[in-house]
């Protein structure tokens, strides 16, 4: 049986109405256009139209040196900038065959997990806002400010960090960062419990989210759905465990799984993921190794500032790396990570020059969203809103 596909609507039978959830809509989490054919309140057919945020990022990255292209990656999945940076840098480091120092890896893990919590907080806030719980939105954004303060301490940018660079991270932790992080970690678990308490026993929440937006594991594989929607079906598929990167194998954490694959299970999976991220952060912080935050690879890594200001060779080296960039040997590599949205991958084709030949981003939200019409088939309009929220899509990475 051919699965229903999101195609242009054929002329609707007279008993249905065509409703446009236009690109400007509070609940579409971005500029997404859904054209729904409704029979009363029931969705008979849905088509998703994307492209309203197409930015030509892949082409822009082809015209920038490798290190500079990291700034573009921030803006794809703008809720998890660090993760995008990481996936891209992993691909480029594979092309360069670089080994990273343990401190750099640990810092990357810390940033990744902080970003995961920040992204899930935005998800929770906006998802709850769509369903009607406005308070949770304000609480989540308040917590997120704490994380953004940490990011700002480390790299100056709140949402667009460009902190994870090829070879490690751009700067080491400033003085006082670890104390701030420890303070955050001591407060956060109770806050997550608070939000969970607000929602988990709330009848309205349960009514709106349970048995809505079902998707089985087989469906997920067919549609390429990864991330929390896949884990909500019961399959513990987490790239941090299955194909560990950045030293994730050293940390002890569980993979959050659900049971039914509905909106409520995606909620519980993400809440648990936040708690597990806190566990990873504790471990990473206590076991943070000393050493360099950047690989010792002069082809790629800028020399330390003290040397740049005192030695001529270091100055020239810095100049060339910044203005021209570094050449990457020809080849193709795929760097994939478990981003908060799912499997995020960067396929980088290098041709030996300083600029990538082709950068393909495998956006998790693109494939997750494609499955939406099947999830909302014969459901109510209100369920559409809940399902979109549960998928946690970011149009920035869908449209690139």
């Amino acid at each position: 049986m051919t699965p229903p596909t999101a195609t242009e609507t054929t002329p609707a039978p007279p008993e249905t109405i065509t409703l446009n959830m236009g690109p400007q809509h509070p609940s579409t989490h971005g500029v997404l256009r859904l054209v729904l054919e409704l029979d009363g309140e029931t969705v008979r057919h849905a088509a998703a139209h994307i492209g309203f945020l197409h930015t030509g990022m892949e082409k822009t990255m082809e015209n920038m040196p490798y290190q500079q292209a990291i700034t573009i990656t921030d803006r794809m999945d703008y809720l998890s900038g660090m993760n995008n940076n990481l996936a891209y840098c992993l691909a480029v480091e594979k092309l360069l065959d670089m080994e990273l120092p343990p401190r750099g890896q640990a810092i990357r893990v810390i940033m990744s997990e902080l970003q995961r919590i920040a992204s899930h907080l935005v998800w929770l806030g906006t998802h709850a806002l769509d369903i009607g719980v406005m308070s949770v939105f304000f609480y989540c954004f308040r917590e997120r400010e704490a994380i953004l303060n940490l990011f700002e301490m480390v790299c100056g940018g709140r949402m667009t960090p460009a902190y994870i660079r090829v070879g490690g991270v751009s700067l080491d932790f400033p003085v006082g960062f670890e104390e701030r992080l420890a303070a955050f970690l001591s407060v956060m678990p109770t806050r997550i419990d608070e939000y969970d308490d607000l929602l988990r026993h709330n009848d309205i929440w349960l009514e709106r989210t349970q048995n809505v937006g079902h998707f089985s594991e087989a469906d997920c594989w067919r549609w390429g759905v990864t991330g929390p929607p896949l884990r909500a079906t019961g399959r513990p598929h987490d790239l941090r465990k299955i194909s560990p990167y950045c030293g994730y194998e050293q940390y002890d954490f569980e993979v959050a799984v659900g049971a039914e694959g509905d909106v409520y299970d995606r909620y519980t999976v993400r809440m648990k993921e936040m708690r597990e991220s806190l566990k990873i952060l504790e471990q990473a912080l206590t076991a943070l190794p000393d050493g360099e935050h950047l690989a010792d690879d002069p082809r790629v890594v800028l020399p330390p500032k003290e040397r740049v200001f005192s030695e001529m060779e270091a100055l020239i080296h810095h100049f060339i790396l910044v203005t021209r960039g570094f050449p990457v040997p020809a080849g193709e590599a795929y760097g994939c990570i478990e981003s908060p949205k799912g499997e995020l991958g960067y396929y980088v084709v290098a041709d030996g020059s300083e600029k990538p030949f082709r950068v393909r981003v495998r956006p998790p939200s693109f494939y997750n969203l494609q499955a939406l019409p099947e999830m909302i088939q014969d459901r109510l309009v209100a369920d559409v809103v809940a399902t979109i929220g549960s998928l946690d899509i970011v149009l920035g990475e869908i449209d690139r």
Partner: protein, 182 residues
Amino acid sequence: MSESAEQPPEPSAPPRSQIETELRILRRHCPDAILEVTEQPARDMHWIEIRKERLHRVASLLRDTGELGYQMLADLFGVDYPEREDRFSVLYQLYSPGRNQRLYLRVRVEEGEAVPTLREVFPNADWAEREVWDLFGIPFDGHPDLRRILNPDDWEGHPLRKDYPLVGRRPVLLFNSVKDVL
């Protein structure tokens, strides 16, 4: 010289390819499909270049054969090599969750040549093929709704081609009427 003289190393057997099973099954059921096999085991990447006519068969085999289990089409995209005669490569990344194995299928086509659609085997190829059509201009035979997905419907040109300038060809959109672009 010491007693335990340095023996010349035994000629070792060539390392077993990680995709040996795949190649064996494909060669048995679909012998003319494989054009070239490239492997980079250090990066855990394996590419099989196949004939485009055999794409559907190969993908079905990879998906349905129990011991292979490539249930997921992880990605589908194009690359433009303008100096080559077959300037476009369409890459398919298949993923086998049971074995945690990724495999790339590569199909090379020239300008204007169409590739058969993979929608019947993997439904999520739908949007990805529309994107490749939009950005590269590679048509897909059998796709029921091949229209642009990222650029406006009336866009001219295929932006990710190497001969398309970054800043685009048409002037910045200054319009005085709201056309039905939606």
